[in-house]
Amino acid sequence: MMADSGPKEVAVIGNTDLTSAELDNNIKNTMVEIEKGTSLLRKMEISVAEAEKRTGKNTVNMQELYTVYLIETRPVDALTEGITPDSLWRRYSEFELLRNYLLVTYPFVVVAPLPEKRAEIVWHKLSADNMDPDFVERRRVGLENFLHRVASHPVLCNDNIFYIFLTEQDKDWKEMVYETGFQAKADSRLKAVNAAFRVKNPDGRFTELKHYSDELQTVLSQLLRVRARVADRLYGVYKVHGNYGRIFSEWSAIEKEMGDGLQSAGHHMDAYAASVDDILEEEEHYADQLKEYLFYTDALRAVCRKHELTQFELEMVALDLTCKKQQKEELVTGTVRTFSLKGMTSKLFGQETAEQREAKLQVLEQQLKEGEEAVKEKNTESDEFVKTAWVDIERFKDQKDRDLKEALISYAVMQISMCKKGIQVWTNAKECFNKM
């Protein structure tokens, strides 16, 4: 997939449809952006260090219990190691606000998802309670991950709102966000659905991407559900072995020769039963990695929707222009090709005067000019969008392949560790049984 000319590049650009000139240009642009982008994470250490429970009054003036997260930032500098980081507290809803702002402001970016608001795909041991400490901890990790994703994104990391979110305990941060007017820029859902239905020529790649994200969502949901059930069952198997521990111990009390062997075997059975907790805790991390990409599919679909909308608007504007051109032609040639009320009334009530026609023509000319401008504008807009969006999508694809590959490897490592533990326990138990 390599271009013949141009330097070999990080797999950010995957679009082989561009000419080599455009490729060069793209490379220069993205290289600059990468420089700018990675600089934020290079310059700053960001972490979500803690979580705390607070009470306060909510918007309807009722007392509520919520969790806040401590965001710490510190410049990455060998000389400044040991300096206490700047920190501020943010709650989940503020993260949501930030993300919504980013979604609207950079619609061509596949914006990283937030961790679950509520624990949904869980196995029985994990409580679905938002206040449960395990859940809160996993959410803390998820939020940190989100911030890292944004901070390492070549475009998003430069956003000022984001920077202030991280660094200034400004009570009016929310105000600032609202003042950007991003809410007005947001496309209505209805508009988007309408466009999705009526668009005629969307870029095939986006259609494909939409299908892919639907497929990925389905398959990951299923995978996570089945994994949770498997974890449940595994838990059951291990824990029942704990009964062996107790019974062996009791039994050893009434046996003479067998007593020692039974007693120690019992301890190993207890160890076996207990070992499943760590095993499944580790697996939760793997599940979280998959969940992130499950939630990413929403972001992918959002970008596709934006494209469809942009394309649709372009098509509408182009259609309008065509209409106007046709009207002009009819007016000029005097032929009425299309049925119109005007045409009928003029037939009934007589033709217009020359001045009236002239006036109409002038209006039309003006409209045509505006229309052409609009089409040009929309075209550029659409092209820009497709270009920038596709760059980010390629970036996302590579990130996804890398991350998931790593996740699968770490899953295999987990399985290996589990097997090794099993071997050890049962080998020990075997020794004990031998002594019976």
Partner: protein, 467 residues
């Protein structure tokens, strides 16, 4: 006609096994699927007049070796139970098993026998052995039927399980120094079907057996008064052992159940990775790899569960039945002692009777009828003396019987404990070994996968060169 009295024993009391570790998954009380045992717990005792019983302990010791070398190198009889076949008659359908015997023992006319036996025949044999040696420990038979879910008597698994248990039953008897010398055992192994039927019809009639049973019930109601301490100890042990082994049985069955359910879920898990690989390009190979690993682990899991079901579950179950056998043996021993104690009491009463000059009704009658009071009293004395002498003789015999029963039990007790230890040790060992093997195989599967992943990145780094 079956002479056994089938006592449907209520299920062994389930001690509540608290969910001490997790809190949720260990409620074994919900395991209400307890089996209905049809046990051959006869209350009949070794009748002194049973033709097949050896006459005295002494002669028995002479005939067969007692305890010392019963190990494999002196094994001179080999029995296999196999080849189940179903037979259909007008009245019923039943299964027979082939019993093949190879032996060098002198009491057998041939060195090889092949006969077919049905479950009823095994039951008969067990009953005869217990009748003749009421305080010896006879290895249990598999149950008559199991009311749990798989109700069909002709289900393949059920037949196989039963076959194995019957095989073990006969071999245990063959290993037993005393029981293997039993005439009934010999007939069981060697007689043709019609011969066996004829043979079964011999022996004490129904009524005399009923009488024995009634006596036994009466004695057990009376209870034993001075049980020797060592038997008290054995009794206590048996109680505890029974509880423990029942619990182990339940736990193991629960493990099998959980493992099977885990397997079911695992079978669905692998395919989701395959499904996913269909949507991916870069990741497809890797995802298929993971799916393959999970599939292979499924196979290993299936094997492991099978091993558990075949090896540990039946042994634990056998010993649950053993515990019941032990309880019955102890009861029978108690009854023998009770009978002896009863007779002793009767003797004491009679002596008192004789020694007291009582003006009883008989004396009055006698005088009414014109008998000489002196003579009447004399007659009475003589009668009582006679009765006392009879009683003394009976008591002597009973005393012998008690001693014989106690010794038999003591001897067999040690033997039983040893084979229990051996059986359970090897079953648990085998299970542990299988589990190690299971984990080792799964480990190999995932390590192979990991290896294949680690070599691939070398291809990727060519593409990923940063300028």
């Amino acid at each position: 006609m079956s002479r056994t009295i089938d006592a449907v024993v209520s299920p062994t009391q389930t001690n509540t096994i608290p969910a001490d570790i997790s809190g949720q998954m260990l409620d074994l009380d919900e395991d209400d699927d307890l089996e209905v045992f049809s046990k051959d717990s006869t209350l009949a005792e070794g009748s002194m007049f049973n033709a097949s019983m050896q006459t005295s302990p002494g002669s028995m010791v002479n005939q067969c070796k007692f305890e010392e070398d019963e190990e494999g190198d002196s094994k001179d009889i080999f029995i296999t139970v196999d080849n189940p076949e179903s037979h259909v008659t007008a009245i019923e359908t039943f299964i027979t098993y082939r019993v093949l015997t190879k032996t060098t023992r002198s009491e057998f006319d041939n060195s090889e026998y092949e006969v077919r036996r049905r479950y009823q025949d095994f039951l008969w044999l067990k009953g005869k052995l217990e009748e003749a040696h009421s305080t010896l420990i006879v290895h249990p038979l598999p149950e008559k039927f199991v009311v749990k879910g798989m109700v069909e008597r002709f289900n393949g698994d059920f037949i196989e399980t039963r076959r194995k248990a019957l095989h073990k039953f006969l071999n245990r008897i063959a290993d037993h120094p005393i029981l293997s010398c039993s005439e009934d055992f010999k007939v069981f192994l060697s007689a043709q079907a019609w011969e066996l039927t004829t043979y079964k019809k011999q022996g004490p009639g129904f009524l005399s057996r009923m009488g024995e049973t009634v006596r036994a019930v009466a004695n057990s109601v009376r209870g034993v008064k001075n049980r020797p301490e060592e038997f008290n100890a054995i009794q206590e042990y048996v109680e505890d052992f029974s509880n423990k082994i029942s619990s182990l049985d339940k736990v193991t069955q629960r493990i099998v159940k959980e493992q099977k359910e885990y397997l079911e879920e695992l079978k669905e898990y692998g395919p989701t990775y395959t499904l996913w690989s269909g949507s991916e390009e870069e990741l497809a190979e890797q995802l298929k790899g993971v799916a393959g690993c999970i599939e292979r682990c499924c196979k290993e899991t299936e094997e492991q569960v099978g091993h558990l079901s075949d090896t540990l579950v039946p042994v634990l179950h056998e010993y649950v039945l053993c515990a019941e056998t032990l309880k019955a043996v102890l009861r029978r021993r108690d009854n023998i002692q009770a009978e002896f104690e009863a007779k002793n009491e009767a003797l004491a009463t009679k002596k008192v009777d004789r020694d007291t000059e009582s003006s009883d009704l008989g004396f009055v009658w006698g005088s009414l009828l014109g008998k000489n009071p002196e003579e009447a009293r004399h007659q009475r004395q003589e009668r009582l003396d006679g009765e006392i002498e009879e009683l003394k003789e009976e008591i002597d015999k009973l005393e012998d019987r008690v001693e014989w029963a106690n010794n038999a039990l003591k001897g067999d007790w040690g033997r039983w404990q040893r084979s229990m230890r051996g059986d359970l040790k090897s079953a648990f060992l085998s299970t542990a070994e299988k589990n190690v093997d299971y984990y080792e195989k799964c480990l190999a599967v995932w390590e192979t996968f990991l290896l294949s992943q680690r070599t691939e990145p070398s291809e990727e780094t060519d593409r990923d060169n940063t300028p």
